[in-house]
Symmetry: D2
Subunit: 462 residues, 4 copies
Amino acid sequence: MKYENEKVSGIHIAYIGGGSRGWAWGLMGDLAMDSDLTGTVKLYDINYEAAQINSTIGNNLSLRDDVKGKWRYEAVSTLKEALTGADFVIISILPGSFKDMASDVNLPQEYGIYQSVGDTTGPGGIVRALRTIPMYVEIAEAVKAVSPNAWVINYTNPMTLCTRTLSEIFPQIKVVGCCHEVFGTQELLAAMLKAMKGMKDVSYKDITVNVLGINHFTWINEASYQGMDLMPIYKEFVDKYYETGFEEHPGNWEKSFFGSANRIHFDLFRRYGLIAAAGDRHLAEFMPSTWYLKDPDTVKAYKFSLTPIEYRLKRQKELSHQSKRLANREEEVALRPSGEEGLRMIKALLGLGNFVINVNMPNQGQVSGLPIGAVVETNALMARDSVRPVMAGRLPIDIHNMVSRHVLNQEVVLRAALTKDKSLAFRAFSNDPLVNIDINKAEELFNRMLQNTKGYLSGWDL
Amino acid sequence: MKYENEKVSGIHIAYIGGGSRGWAWGLMGDLAMDSDLTGTVKLYDINYEAAQINSTIGNNLSLRDDVKGKWRYEAVSTLKEALTGADFVIISILPGSFKDMASDVNLPQEYGIYQSVGDTTGPGGIVRALRTIPMYVEIAEAVKAVSPNAWVINYTNPMTLCTRTLSEIFPQIKVVGCCHEVFGTQELLAAMLKAMKGMKDVSYKDITVNVLGINHFTWINEASYQGMDLMPIYKEFVDKYYETGFEEHPGNWEKSFFGSANRIHFDLFRRYGLIAAAGDRHLAEFMPSTWYLKDPDTVKAYKFSLTPIEYRLKRQKELSHQSKRLANREEEVALRPSGEEGLRMIKALLGLGNFVINVNMPNQGQVSGLPIGAVVETNALMARDSVRPVMAGRLPIDIHNMVSRHVLNQEVVLRAALTKDKSLAFRAFSNDPLVNIDINKAEELFNRMLQNTKGYLSGWDL
Amino acid sequence: MKYENEKVSGIHIAYIGGGSRGWAWGLMGDLAMDSDLTGTVKLYDINYEAAQINSTIGNNLSLRDDVKGKWRYEAVSTLKEALTGADFVIISILPGSFKDMASDVNLPQEYGIYQSVGDTTGPGGIVRALRTIPMYVEIAEAVKAVSPNAWVINYTNPMTLCTRTLSEIFPQIKVVGCCHEVFGTQELLAAMLKAMKGMKDVSYKDITVNVLGINHFTWINEASYQGMDLMPIYKEFVDKYYETGFEEHPGNWEKSFFGSANRIHFDLFRRYGLIAAAGDRHLAEFMPSTWYLKDPDTVKAYKFSLTPIEYRLKRQKELSHQSKRLANREEEVALRPSGEEGLRMIKALLGLGNFVINVNMPNQGQVSGLPIGAVVETNALMARDSVRPVMAGRLPIDIHNMVSRHVLNQEVVLRAALTKDKSLAFRAFSNDPLVNIDINKAEELFNRMLQNTKGYLSGWDL
Amino acid sequence: MKYENEKVSGIHIAYIGGGSRGWAWGLMGDLAMDSDLTGTVKLYDINYEAAQINSTIGNNLSLRDDVKGKWRYEAVSTLKEALTGADFVIISILPGSFKDMASDVNLPQEYGIYQSVGDTTGPGGIVRALRTIPMYVEIAEAVKAVSPNAWVINYTNPMTLCTRTLSEIFPQIKVVGCCHEVFGTQELLAAMLKAMKGMKDVSYKDITVNVLGINHFTWINEASYQGMDLMPIYKEFVDKYYETGFEEHPGNWEKSFFGSANRIHFDLFRRYGLIAAAGDRHLAEFMPSTWYLKDPDTVKAYKFSLTPIEYRLKRQKELSHQSKRLANREEEVALRPSGEEGLRMIKALLGLGNFVINVNMPNQGQVSGLPIGAVVETNALMARDSVRPVMAGRLPIDIHNMVSRHVLNQEVVLRAALTKDKSLAFRAFSNDPLVNIDINKAEELFNRMLQNTKGYLSGWDL
């Protein structure tokens, strides 16, 4: 790398899952709009062809006149090739196919267990984790061997266990897990200021929050905008919209599987007094099945949706077509911010501007009371070659209990995956709050799910 | 007190709940059989008459020729009187009436929640705790004011929260909580040696175990008898009796509400690999309702019973009659060991013989990973004016997760009771593994139970 | 307070030690140059007249046309009056007179113990602490009673023990201790960039450092400027200037009692590998007397000075004259930044700009390995009504051992002062690295020093 | 091994340092007097001939009619041979020769540093540790490879660092470090009961103490005998004998280099309030040189001695002669208890009698506040295949500070020895309380000492 006039050239980014559609193009767009950095992005994907198409798309972009950041994109066929010389490693993979995800989500429904996402916790999240951890073991070992000083930025779910696997296998790894769900809650707070106070131009980035918990189940206990304390305003906001829910664009939740009317946000605030900082679809899955995911009617009453796998398959097909159009320049990558903060983090890590943002990292004490080493989500100060968590404090004990149950379950899942121990894995599975069915039925479901994902569980005694 | 020739006279014991039947007579018998100690027992009870009858029974005993330990029994009408000058304080009360207990146990059944005991955890245990904690606050404050140097021995359930309340209110209190459930598991191990190895005369006291967890949900990870490691033998034992269960006197579980065929012991060992160290009736209540307490048929299949309140009421009546017969000397207190270790502890605390026994005490680190200050059950070394826990180590993380959930829930219950916070109390209630019902139904149940126990909840906004 | 257009009016600052000269005028100047804030500063001082003169000086300032921030200054005669309604409390007092300080510094010299400052550690620092702690107990109790929600900013030395006393007496207090010594080391790094790399315009504020340790004995293990890692440059810098020392203005150390040629900085870096982040005068006092403070010749060889009390007395007199001139407007307060960050902190706490700065606060885990609750110095994120430490990590164990010895000694001093326990105080005194003399001689010195400061030790048995 | 009738045969003990004189014969005697155990002792020593002579001595013993425990002794020539099949490993070696020890003790004297023993701390202890740690690395690796389930009992000094090295290299090792110094203090308490209360037949084994600290610098905060609290009696005892000191056999300290009049015991009690639980010779070395080891006159005034190396050399020669006489049966091994508790521990670990005794083990929390993993000395409960520390609590903070300094210094020494880092080793050396000399002189001394012990420091850059 070479620094000159607060610009850096010769940066090498390894992109694991470089054949991905949405995420990869988002990053390409962000890089293209920034004039301070240039270098090479090596795209690695188990689907090499997809990586190649993406390299074409990326290189097309660099030819455009309106693009300020000119990067070279290169598809590579091995992990080692991607990592060699890497300054940054971005990981954004789909662990398994959507068919596997269908098993994660649909099979539990046969047993009366509904999941709105199925990629983080619950039966789907746990089985997905068992499948993903070996992939992350391989990545961690490769980073350790090939690019131990690179910064690794993870985007894959289950976020906590992916990040945790990296730090377990290679404890010195420089890793942050990044997720935009907290931004969504900051946006909700900005929308609240508009709705409650008539303040129109508040950017979510100017909402200061203190975040503590784990990915998709993290909590805000302090929120402010300039001189204003947002907590009492949020209370009024919840009181006003508790029954109806609140959306910036009312009715959106019925049109998009990703939308919601924030009724779970509001119910959790009423019951627990803090602001849960992820979308309702994720939050619902961390609570017992007797709360928000009892059955489709309950889901509808709470104004959110179960994301059907059919939708994901359809969307995948569309993106596949789009990728071809982009490669052929029948269509152009749009130059608008992706909403992710990967680029800003890279710049901070290069010394081009310290900032504070929420990240997922092993707990060094930033969340008091949660185990040291478990991956938690809090704010951190990013600076040159350094990410230091901000002390977030301690959750109220009632919330802590709920969070801790998931944290410890995740640790059990990790250990089960690493030791290929089916009995141990089931102990985690049976202890998930969504697995609220007869223990023997639960065991049957677990066995069927494992059979479906067996192809990824080499060395297990199944 | 006066020491002479390894005997101690002039000891003062305060007995809170001194009108109790079974427990009080047991202690009287134990004291009567020991020639090393004498002194006064002050009996305090909210039922003063019952305390008076017991004082007559106790003093009758001291008149008998076959009695070696001559104690004076005195009924007193205030807590302060009982505690004044006390060297030891024994607490064994019934918090509320059996009618209250009927609400604890029967109301949840209307909602499909079955409890085998209902005094420790589950809806019944939690509501009982809410009722009991104010009584223990009063006791703690009295001990602090009147007899701060006395050793306090608690026998009341919920053991953990009673002991925890004492240490919360008066952190310097010298307190141990005592429970015979671990002895029962040691006896099971002795019976195992007979069944599996033909060893007939093994006393449970010679079975060495390492105990760690919380009262009624504690675990043994090391067990030995002289040179023998009992863990592999237990594995064979479980394999042999897994389906049928095991009882020293087969069929007993169907005759007694307190018996069981240890099938839950065996199932927990199969699933988790450690020996759970309480009776099946207690263990069942700590696991989710989808395991052992799903419905009466499941209970029967696991060969244990739901203790009906009717039985307790009947038994109470019998004991009331017996107490009159004992006071009138129509019947005599039997001189046989009670099976409790209170006397042996008192002797150790007086300097008359160090020994190691399981006790419930605030965690100073004896169970790694559980919160400091939470009341845990492990071995401790008892010596003159000193009880020091033995480092018990760390539970396997999967078991730790289950135990930790209860520990934190107990902390929430404590705080709710101390601050009279109904919403907080419900957060604990709704997080109990037996409360696996629709969250709104759970709230209804909770409200009804609180109404029933309202008389004990002064200052609450109900 | 009132917010309008990102400006705040009606702020109330209580200034304890409001009769001080240098510090008070510096704050007045900083406030005067800032157009975003206005309000009232209440000046409280045991020397009421000095506070009155300062109020005149401050109000004069507000009349000037070139002053943007118009504040009202008011001398008050009680602590309570000052604190009533306070949003911020600034504490900058002289604990005792310079005559007391003469005893702190000169008496130890009779025993061969040399101190370069004598206000933080060593015999002088410890006795000063014993004298100061009761004053801080009084302040803490007043803040608790009168203005519990105010933010307290401490500038007084001994910084650690003053701040620690506040948090001991009123654990919920919102307190930060501020010290400019780290800025000095950041300035040294900026000067290094000029000397070694020809970079002329680097501001110390743009030097990013990770700080961990305790006030006046804190350490930097990461330092960067934009994309540059400053640690290897510092190594070359030390190698180049190890023998001669380095000063921006060579020879300055001989002219000013506050200067140094950074030889102790360099020696500590050579021996320990991290950058000590305070001036040499302070650093020397934390090391054993056999290192840098053996005798005046050693001090001279290391190119720093013992600050004579005569100098301080002379300086005090000058400032006293200046204060009169300022009150009479024979002279005007200069409008230049004081170099302290108090104003920037106040603005951040009001929601007018988050930033990261080093502060002294009770350890919540920001320095791993040091006791929770001890006051440590690290970076913190300042935001609206919030100061959250940044996780600074763990010191190398050899440095940790030296720091820990002082931290624990400070805890002993605190306890001794609170319990007025002379024997305990001597145990801290005798364990200070500068007290390297015969234990009986040490006791004699200690007794003489206590006699001299007796007037402040009410309730002690001396 | 074979159990029968509470006796065990076929035990295999590996004795590392099996050519030693005093210690080996003591163990042989203890084994010979016990009728419950038999088996083989494999003697390994770098001096093979000495091991052979000892095997002859041991086998002679087994031929005697008055010997109940018949063991077979076998000299082996490799560590591996000794450990193969071992149930127990006893380590009692002399790390280096007495010539090396002469350097440890005499060289510092040239610089004015006096040491009474020189094997634990101070310049001598640190250099001895640097020499010994590589030997223990070798032993730890061999135990890990050959006999990972064996119990290892260490007797070698420096006790803490020997034990610590074993647990660092092989964390799963089952190790206890045993030392009789606490017994000596228990004997002092027994003697006190005789002197103060006329109680003649008290055995030190019946004195119950709570011990906490590190080997040779551990402390007693509770002591009792039957119903008596010994702490107030000790206070009177100290008051009575503070000036004169106390010995059971007055004047003994002048005749034996190992005796003392306990004046340091008494002075530490006066100053700190707890009973230091090691001999004065050891205690003196943990305190700054300005206390008890200032010069020979001070030593004499405190009524203890500097053990001259000449004495050790002379004693070695005598034992060498004795060993030949024993091998030739010109003399017989005396059958009297050695005063060590190794045999009793072995029996407990075999399941033949649980008991509580002080041991050195990695801290799991038994001493609150000291680092987890550091080797500390407390009571422990020994049972079949199990040693569990008793929670000893927390030292008063002033004593904790002194102990902690040594604990952390030991950790630095360990790291320096493992990484062969001379600079790091000097940082520990220069931070020892006895190294109170000019820092440059200290460096010179350190270098000279390292040169003298260079033969053991392979791989170091000296």
